[in-house]
Symmetry: C2
Subunit: 263 residues, 2 copies
Amino acid sequence: MLFSVKMQQNLTIADVMQNGGKWFMPSLSLDCVIFGFHENQMKVLLLKMKNAEQWALPGGFIYKDEDIEEAAIRVLRERTGIHDIFLQQFHVFGRPGRSDKKFHSDIMKKDGIKPAKDHWILQRFLTVGYYALVDFAHAIPHPDGTSTSCEWWDIHEVKELFMDHKHILDKALETLRLQLNHQPIGYTLLPQKFTMPELQKLYETILDKKLDRRNFQRRMMGYGILKRLSETRKGGAHKAPYLYSFDLRRYKKALQEGLQGGW
Amino acid sequence: MLFSVKMQQNLTIADVMQNGGKWFMPSLSLDCVIFGFHENQMKVLLLKMKNAEQWALPGGFIYKDEDIEEAAIRVLRERTGIHDIFLQQFHVFGRPGRSDKKFHSDIMKKDGIKPAKDHWILQRFLTVGYYALVDFAHAIPHPDGTSTSCEWWDIHEVKELFMDHKHILDKALETLRLQLNHQPIGYTLLPQKFTMPELQKLYETILDKKLDRRNFQRRMMGYGILKRLSETRKGGAHKAPYLYSFDLRRYKKALQEGLQGGW
DNA sequence: TATCATTGCGTCATAAAGACGCATTGTATG
DNA sequence: CATACAATGCGTCTTTATGACGCAATGATA
């Protein structure tokens, strides 16, 4: 987690540094791996940190009487503007050495604050990892108080992140892959209407391998979770593909058992 | 979590109550769902609590400089005597209302201690859930300082547990089911040598459904992860079945991709 | 020695998965 | 405006996996 004012836009860093210990659960943060799908690529939302040439996952602290999941929803809403978001807790990261204490104390010194050694922000922190799947077109990235910008990155281009955030991202991807048949991947990541090639590219990106176009279509239609619309997507350079949307009722039912078959 | 002396057998409850705040991470505990397999039934290790007519999951606190997983290993070692244990973190339980504060303050009052309202044990606690798979025959249940006994329960007979521990147990089982093809279920839960019917019963118990004996054998052998020994298990009332053991090299390799096929 | 439940191995029918052929379609090009 | 082109939609064929079940062999028991 960044140290930070992520969930309190109108609070200053100094406010949080001073009062965080009163407001938040001690030694605990959360980080969100927010996935989007755009131009046939998986994207992840990252923050450019104010005080360093690094990028980080959006995160936050948990108020003393707040459900962790509520806190995650809050962070997601503030970073993307989306209220109805799909998210899943996937892992707790708690190695004793994972917090960058120097980073935080340096920032405070810069602000003229000399933090006590037992200052809450300088303690060891655990972070609860959540991944979220959002419709790229509906998300409007908003930086928080600790960051200068908030941008989508292609997951393949992310090399190094703040602290152990790259590790967290990798673990999120791994989890997503394993849960592919049990989570509403397509429904949450694609717009309401989409083409079969788009859905296929989504699967290919997550699985990181090519799939046969014709077999993919047969299988997807076999699940009985897609409705083919009468419209087609015009404007492409070639034959206009049909648009599809999910039959949400059937989709959810199918996911309870898990979509059958491996990839 | 029980409040408790679980990881410090020679410490008194009073010791922990008084000093826990100095030693442990605040507001954080861990709980272990320890599975064993015996007489064709899945068992879970539970503690009978000293101060209540309730059973609870073994758990513990995390020292301030201790890795959470290390702490879980510590708890498992102390409850079972097993050093080389298979465990997996599966979920964090963090609802604000999940801690039973009255329970803890009552115990302290019983001991003549009048806890301050901000006493560490009376704070809101999160707990990190781990599940462990152990060889039943090698585990020797040891109660901890907060419990009068430590026993294996058939998972189907567990009705109600302390706080949200039943919920934690259910979630562990659900996770185990989902990860069946990716975890060394058989290797960790069965003794080194086992029969095919035993392996099948293990799968049937976890999946909670009957499988065809002959198709199960064909499929298992098809994975190429089992070695059939020349010995048979004598003593049964009927035809002596062959003993098998895992080809660990192949098994681990197969698990990386996941055993193919659904159940 | 006969009995009997269990075990090991096999067959058959059906369903799913993988590889690929081909006509159709909407756009672009000359 | 005819033609080329690449992507799409649908289908076939083959190979594998799955589900249901038959049957002989086995080893303790009566």
